[in-house]
């Protein structure tokens, strides 16, 4: 039967660690208000369960303290991750990464407190007081510093790229685990080296924080370049349109003298019906030839997800250059989608490349893209004409393409991306010489 005092000791220790963890979490999640703290009481489960596990496991496997420590730490990590996931309503991997990051900071300060307990030798009560004061000064001081450095913002930026979210989270987990190993090894440090050891720990943590900010800045810069490319692609598309419109107008000028001659003759003869018919033919001709170009420009305005917009503009411009007649319809504004944006961009890119490749083999190449957003749902349809025969058993195989070896990695990776999303359905059709790919992305499951 564990002594009550012992239980209380373990619990208080765990509670203090959790409090420090929460302080760091608030900074890492870039929290601006105190509203989130109303969800804090639920987190009390974590120290309760953790201290219980710690006491029971130390009793059960007293020979393997490291095993007990690992078990205890993993449970705490898991519970805190779940709490973060719930409190901030975010995905598991983001919560996991944030918890690991907070864990790194927390471990380093608890290393400090342990060192202090071993070096500041006073009677128990005042020792506890002194250590606590220094401990909290360190926690709050470092948290304030991180806050000033806008660490939370950088951290979020690093995880925004959902494509590599899991990888990033595992990277943070590895750092956290390393820190835990360091703190376990502290037991073997000779007293004389304790303070240098502790300082080293601080430096490592500072380096980690610096690394995170550096990486985030790098990816931010990359993103800015991408945004610039978007602007360039859009300008290219726009210039192409202008050029086409200019050519059309020139052709029109050629015709209009003849048309005017016809009109004035009809007017002379008082043939109102014929006049009207010629005029509406003129109007329809304009609509058909120039109106279509203008239509594409208007529709891209409804694409409000920058990455998707950028990709579409880029691909449209590229297809236009190759002489493919493109039609794009975006009836309603596309603002958000329940799928990782980069995954969507990859899917869309594959479908468009595939469509362009297929269309180019035909006499009159065209590609048609229809995007329809309704609330959280988005449906996408890409179609193109094709030449030849499609073998449905083969098109989804890796490396298959109607154009022979080395191409067509697309559709199989498209398939592969979609298997991760249970809220998507895709269909493929190839009736009547037109290849159609449809993708519907539903609400979050």
């Amino acid at each position: 039967m564990p002594v009550l005092e012992e239980v209380l000791d373990v619990f208080v220790d765990s509670l203090i660690s959790h409090a420090a963890l929460v302080v760091y979490l608030l900074v890492i999640m870039d929290e601006r208000g105190w509203g989130r703290l109303s969800r804090l009481p639920v987190l009390l489960f974590s120290p309760l369960v953790a201290s219980w596990i710690s006491i029971v496991s130390y009793k059960a496997f007293s020979g393997a303290p490291i095993l007990c420590y690992c078990l205890d730490s993993s449970v705490i990590l898991l519970m805190c991750t779940l709490w973060v996931k719930w409190a901030w309503c975010i995905g598991f991997w983001r919560a996991f990464a944030a918890t690991c990051m907070a864990g790194v900071f927390q471990v380093s300060v608890s290393c400090l407190s342990r060192t202090l307990f071993m070096t500041v030798l006073l009677d128990r009560a005042s020792q506890f007081m002194v250590v606590m004061v220094i401990y909290w000064a360190a926690v709050l001081g470092s948290a304030a510093l991180l806050y000033r450095l806008r660490f939370g913002g950088w951290f979020r930026l690093l995880l925004e790229d959902g494509f590599s979210q899991r990888r990033t989270a595992l990277f943070f987990f590895a750092m956290e685990a390393t820190m835990e190993v360091f703190i376990i090894l502290q037991k073997g440090i000779q007293p004389a080296y304790l303070i240098p050891y502790c300082l080293l720990m601080m430096i490592v943590v500072a380096l980690i924080a610096g690394l995170v900010i550096y990486l985030a800045q790098r990816s931010d810069a990359a993103r800015k370049i991408e945004a610039q490319q978007d602007v360039i692609a859009q300008q290219q598309l726009y210039e192409q349109d202008l050029e086409a419109i200019r050519q059309e107008v020139q052709a029109f000028r050629h015709d209009y003298k003849n048309l005017l001659a016809g009109l004035s003759q009809a007017a002379d003869e008082g043939e109102l019906g014929q006049l009207r018919a010629s005029l509406s033919a003129l109007d329809a001709g304009f609509d058909r030839r120039i109106g279509q170009k203008i239509q594409v420009s208007a529709q891209t305005g409804n694409l409000l997800i920058p990455q998707v917009r950028s990709l579409l503009l880029f691909k449209l411009a590229a297809m236009g250059k190759k002489g493919i007649d493109c039609r794009l319809e975006v009836l309603y504004p596309v603002e958000s989608v329940c799928m990782d944006v980069w995954d969507l961009v990859r899917c869309l890119g594959i479908l468009l490349d595939n469509a362009a490749e297929g269309a180019l083999e035909t006499q009159t190449p065209w590609v048609e893209i229809v995007l329809l957003a309704q609330g959280e749902r988005l449906s996408l349809r890409v179609s193109n004409p094709y030449e030849g025969i499609i073998d449905p058993d083969k098109i989804w195989e890796t490396g298959f393409s109607t154009k022979g070896e080395g191409r067509g990695l697309g559709l199989s990776s498209y398939q592969h991306i979609l298997t991760r999303y249970s809220n998507t359905v895709s269909s493929t059709g190839w009736a009547g010489g037109v290849f159609v790919q449809e993708l519907a992305i539903g609400e979050r499951p």
Binding site: S379, G429, E438
Partner: protein
């Protein structure tokens, strides 16, 4: 009798179309009637009766609170899945393909001063011809929810169903398409009954589409495609063919 509905907020257009449609129906002696010429979406929806396979002429640029041409079309599709939708537009640049794919809209008419009625009448003729066609062969269809819409596929076109690596998803294969939808083979097996046989845990195949059974490779050929065949599946097929296979 087939009901014809009309919804456009421009009085002149509405009047012109109503007259032209009524005249067309009278002259050609169609079994149709213009039941309602509404100025607002709500007025139209109040008048519509469900599941009557009616014909609707709708303004694309309708602005009526929550309704626009597209959402009104969706609501009508929900109430009357086999109705015919025709859109009226002021410009030639509407997102027509979106209407075509997502609402199965039949056609659209461009508003032109005194030609709108003529176009409407011509369109009605085409609708009438198609409705006659449909009445001739009421094919048995399989309906599935794929994405945000319901698809109707003639049962006779389906080759087989296949399980997908995504849980609760199934692929439907026809000669010229592959469609992903949420469902399970066991459910489909009980729902579709005798026409389909579960030849393998992952395959539900249309019996009359089976071209060959390769017992060496444990494969069934269906419409030029290959499906896996399990021992239990083979027994089922054998039972089907009375031991002939």
């Amino acid at each position: 009798m087939i009901a014809v509905y009309l919804c456009d907020d421009e009085d002149a257009v509405r009047h012109q179309m109503k007259t032209a449609l009524e005249w067309k129906i009278f002259v050609e002696d169609y079994d149709m009637k213009v039941v309602c010429a509404a100025a607002t979406a709500q007025e139209l929806l109040d008048a519509v009766e469900d599941n009557r396979r009616s014909v609707y002429f709708l303004d694309v640029d309708l602005k009526d609170g929550e309704w626009d041409g597209f959402t009104l079309g969706q609501e009508l599709r929900r109430r009357d899945p086999h109705g015919t939708l025709i859109y009226i537009t002021s410009y030639g640049d509407l997102a027509w393909k979106t209407f075509q794919y997502h609402l199965e809209a039949f056609d659209y008419i461009v508003k032109e001063e005194d030609q709108t009625g003529v176009s409407a009448a011509r369109c009605l003729e085409a609708v009438h011809a198609r409705l006659l066609d449909e009445r001739r062969d009421p094919a048995e269809v399989f309906s599935l929810r794929s994405g945000d819409g319901v698809r109707h596929v003639p049962l006779d076109d389906i080759l087989f169903f296949e399980t997908v690596s995504k849980t609760h998803h199934v692929f439907m294969h026809t000669a010229d398409s592959r469609v992903d939808f949420v469902g399970s083979l066991s459910e489909l097996e009980t729902k579709l009954g005798g026409r389909f046989v579960r030849v393998h845990r992952a395959y539900l195949v249309a019996v009359d589409k089976i071209e060959a059974v390769d017992r060496k490779r444990n494969i069934v050929r269906v419409g030029g495609r290959e499906c896996l065949l399990s021992r239990a599946g083979r027994a089922k097929l054998k039972k089907r063919s009375g031991g002939g296979l």
